[in-house]
Structures are given as C-alpha cells and as structure tokens.
Amino acid sequence: NAGVTQTPKFRILKIGQSMTLQCTQDMNHNYMYWYRQDPGMGLKLIYYSVGAGITDKGEVPNGYNVSRSTTEDFPLRLELAAPSQTSVYFCASSSDREAKNIQYFGAGTRLSVL
C-alpha cells in the first residue's frame, strides 16, 4: 500500500547544481501537486497537474519546472539551485472521483542548497 512515494528523502546541493525530485503514486489519481514548506511556515503550492500532459503554476513556481508524462509520475526539476530553495518538498495527489480536496501526501524530500 505505497500511496505517494518521494525520492530522495534527503539531498544536499551546491549553488547552481540541478536535480530532479521524483514523485510517483499508485492510486491512479489524476491530480498531483508539489509543495514546499519552509521553517515555521505553511505549505506553499509550487506546481500542480490535473492529468497527464497538463500542468499549471501554483503560488511559488519560480526556479522550478515540472512535467507529467504519465498518470503515476510527477517529477519536479530544479535547474539552478539557489539557497532560497532550501526547504522540505512534498508531493501530493488527489482524485476527482473521491471527496473534494483530500490530498494524499508523500513523506517529503529535505533539500539543502549550500
């Protein structure tokens, strides 16, 4: 019963490096999301997707890119890492066939940019 799986759990990047945060879900959910949580703050939406091939910006999209080629996977790409991107990143998914707004979250990826 995997749900939403995120890899890696932890990562340290140097300024200017690139990386992809992986997210996969096995619940056949059509909606997927990426959030970041900074210390003492709530979760802020980076990007979301309502289905394969369809993505849209959230509240804080700058510095990130996403793609959604399959229902299951929704990777988040950081092209030029900056210290401001040090955060905990959460991926989530939901289905319009279930009760509205109930998003299921992965365990998170803790990223430090030094």
């Binding site: 939403v4 909606y31 999301y33 959030y35 003492g40 703050m41 709530g42 979760l43 802020k44 939406l45 979301y48 309502v50 959230g58 509240e59 959460f90 989530a92 939901s94 319009d96 009760a99 509205k100 707004n101 109930i102 998003q103 299921y104 979250f105 992965g106 365990a107 998170g108």
Partner: protein, 115 residues
Amino acid sequence: DQQVKQNSPSLSVQEGRISILNCDYTNSMFDYFLWYKKYPAEGPTFLISISSIKDKNEDGRFTVFLNKSAKHLSLHIVPSQPGDSAVYFCAAATVYGGATNKLIFGTGTLLAVQP
C-alpha cells in the same frame, strides 16, 4: 498576505482534556476547509473537513466548527491523547470546476498532549 492564519504556534494540553486549535481566514470566497495532521519526518495526513455551507462536522473525537461571519474555524479534539501530539495545519480552498486544486495552508500549530 497570509490568507489563512494560525496565530498559535503551539499548544500544550493534558491527556483527557479538550484541545482547541484555531484558524482564521481573510478570503470570503473560500468554500471548503480542511485540517491536516503532521508527524515529524512524515507528510501531512488528512484529518477532517467542512464545507462552507455547514457550521459543524464531527468525526469521532474530532469536531470542526466554522463561523463564516467571523471567518474563523476551530478544531476540537476530545478527549486528547498523547498520540495526538503533532503539527496541525488548517487549509482552505475554493471549488472551481467541481474540484479544488489549490489549497492555501496556515502555518501550523504544534500540539503537545502531556500524559
């Protein structure tokens, strides 16, 4: 501009007593509200929700109250248990096209239930 506010960063309660977590919002267009619970090193998990057309929703030990005129909602946990110790996030959304994709989260309240 914080549209969803949780003004109490932390709350400590004795086991068996009531825990009351509060949340205020500024956007009168929100029509769905949720509470999520988060343990350390885990992702948030859904706890309970309420539509703006209701003023109360109950699920076991958890009850959410909504006061639209005051733009205020609260989560009551009765009786509180040590396993309830976690960070609680309030979230709000508007319904658009039959779904609500953009949750706006508060900053969270750390609840500590003392045995």
